[in-house]
């Protein structure tokens, strides 16, 4: 006869032979506590949160009170495990600190928030290694989608992205021929438009100026667009790269120094700067070099930073729409989730959120 497990000695409460220590709990109140207090089953409480219409008015009222009294909040962790849906989206950014990328994040966050998806963020400072690490880390959250902000991944990253079997959206730039969905605009086109803007005004010596950081591959893409437009027009491609040390403003100033030292007759009539900060640095430096812009040299930027319009001369630039791109990326993800609950992985599409040329004084070619 097996021993009866219960109550060998009523006097000593610590007598129980093998009581396992209780394990650490995540929640103070659980759905069961709430259910018990309201006199319903726990699934009804679950429905109260996930499908309120399926719960009667009366029960709903009672639950509202109990929940308010206990301060119960459903556990996201348990819920996601049980439902088999992570409802999380991982986004890998190259540079969280710039306002442009910050706006991109804001757009995504707003888009996902409304749909109950939690955005997980990683910052890589343009490192491919860190991107790989981030993607791997996100995989463990069973993301509903992954968003990346570059198109040149390490082979391992690319393999990982396919392996997670989840929609992948490349954002900010778009380039043809990628195996993933893309939301953004073609950076080459930015270079093309700015070059043409100057070419159309009759300029022939047009320079592209950028920093040497291999990291900012988008700037390189823009420079390539510039180059192709120049070649198309039969003009000489003239890309200058600044020294390493400088920050963007400093780099812009350096470009002007160099320009000033060139003989007037052969020097660039216009400079397409890789971004607004460089262009601003150039404009701010010009007066002390005895250069008057745009008479002595027309300039343009990229980004339409708030300061662009306040410079003298006001800066001609291309205005991207980072917030809209982020929002659109979120929408694309939501669509993909709705379309393919499982099975066929929807062919990759290109979503262009265009970039606008904003013409101000700085780009006027003066003869």
């Amino acid at each position: 006869m097996p021993v009866p497990p219960k109550k060998p000695l009523p006097a000593s409460p610590a007598e129980e032979p093998r009581v396992r220590a209780p394990r650490r709990k995540l929640a103070t109140h659980t759905i069961h506590d709430v259910a018990a207090l309201a006199g319903v089953s726990s699934i009804t409480v679950s429905r109260y949160f996930n499908a309120p219409d399926k719960v009667s008015q009366a029960v709903r009222e009672r639950l509202r009170e109990v929940i308010a009294a206990t301060g119960y909040v459903p556990s996201q962790v348990a819920g996601r495990l049980a439902s088999g849906q992570g409802r999380v989206v991982g986004a890998v950014m190259q540079n969280t600190a710039s306002t442009t990328f910050a706006d991109l994040v804001r757009g995504m966050n707003d888009g996902f928030d409304a749909a109950g998806l939690q955005l997980l963020l990683a910052n890589t400072d343009y490192s491919q290694q860190l991107e790989e690490r981030a993607v791997r880390a996100f995989a463990g959250w069973h993301p509903s989608a992954l968003i990346v902000t570059r198109d040149d991944h390490t082979p391992d990253t690319e393999a990982l992205l396919r392996a997670v079997r989840v929609p992948v959206v490349e954002t900010w730039g778009v380039v043809p021929g990628r195996p993933f969905h893309q939301v953004g605009f073609p950076h080459e086109q930015v270079g093309v438009e700015l070059a043409r803007h100057f070419i159309a005004q009759g300029a022939r010596r047009i320079r592209f100026a950028m920093r040497p950081v291999a990291q900012d591959f988008r700037a390189q893409q823009r420079s390539m667009g510039y180059a192709s437009a120049m070649r198309e027009a039969g003009l000489k491609v003239d890309i200058v790269t600044t020294t390493e040390a400088a920050d963007e403003f400093e780099a812009g100033a350096e470009v002007m120094h160099r320009l000033q030292q060139e003989p007037k007759r052969t020097r660039a009539q216009a400079i397409v700067f890789a971004n607004d900060s460089m262009a601003a640095g150039a404009i701010l430096q010009a007066p002390s070099l005895g250069l008057e812009l745009p008479r002595d040299c027309a300039v343009s930027g990229f980004g339409d930073a708030p300061i662009a319009a306040r410079l003298h001369p006001a800066l001609t630039t291309m205005r991207p729409a980072p917030y809209e791109i982020g929002m659109k990326a979120a929408r694309v993800v939501l669509e993909l989730m709705a379309q393919a609950p499982q099975g066929k992985p929807a062919p990759p599409q290109l979503h262009v959120v265009p970039c606008r040329l904003v013409v101000r004084d700085s780009s006027r070619i003066v003869r």
Copy 2:
């Protein structure tokens, strides 16, 4: 004889009368799959990830191969549920899009990343309502801590913050007498230092200029510091507020317009701008108004934005350390987690990450 509760149908697998449809799964491979393939138990696989030293060299090698072959990634969701530790930190930011706050986020992210904590981000655009919503949402993730970036919460939010029974860190600013941990610097002090900087140079008519947005309560705190320093010196407090419509740069320009129209003898000798953008707007606008800075009016900013050093005159400003503040906030959280595994909730402490005065040309009082 009662029926044995175990093993419902050992012999015939297809005999079962009611086979339930399989439920949706989160993972493609589980820890059990890996364990089976490697010929060990699943707990050993768990140890391989969480305590590798407790697994023999041989087994470790075998597991490495199997994991590489399957592409298995441990489920964060399941792991956190089982371990009873969310290992998540929720951070509520007022304005994700500014570089300063973005740097704050970067600091936190870097700090938490190293410790395996996942940062969850919310953006409120200075809304107290959205802050409350975000805190509530984060509660469901069983955060190890919550980070907020203001000290004036709604009563409900404040109640929520206490109810989660988790360390709460208020960051960016610090003010005495709060019930939560704080990491940052006293914004009043910024106003005090800048006012004194001008007072020490003999200026008597010193103005503080800000936008009317009630939202930026930090700027208000800085203005109060300015005011107290002025009163202390027996000088008149002169706080001007711009019109609604303008952005920061525009607002700064507006302040200069107003200044120009005042009679020279009574107008401000120095202006403490609420931030660098406003000050930059002012400096950029001045020449076209026939004002020469700092001769006609000395100015200062706040934030030490990259452009501050490149303006003419270069802008005197206060330099905060957002990245360091974020990093420190992360450290504080980690310490609190280590200190109080449970029980006594460590008395709130103040951690000041100081803000530095950076003197440049714009603040020179010329007589």
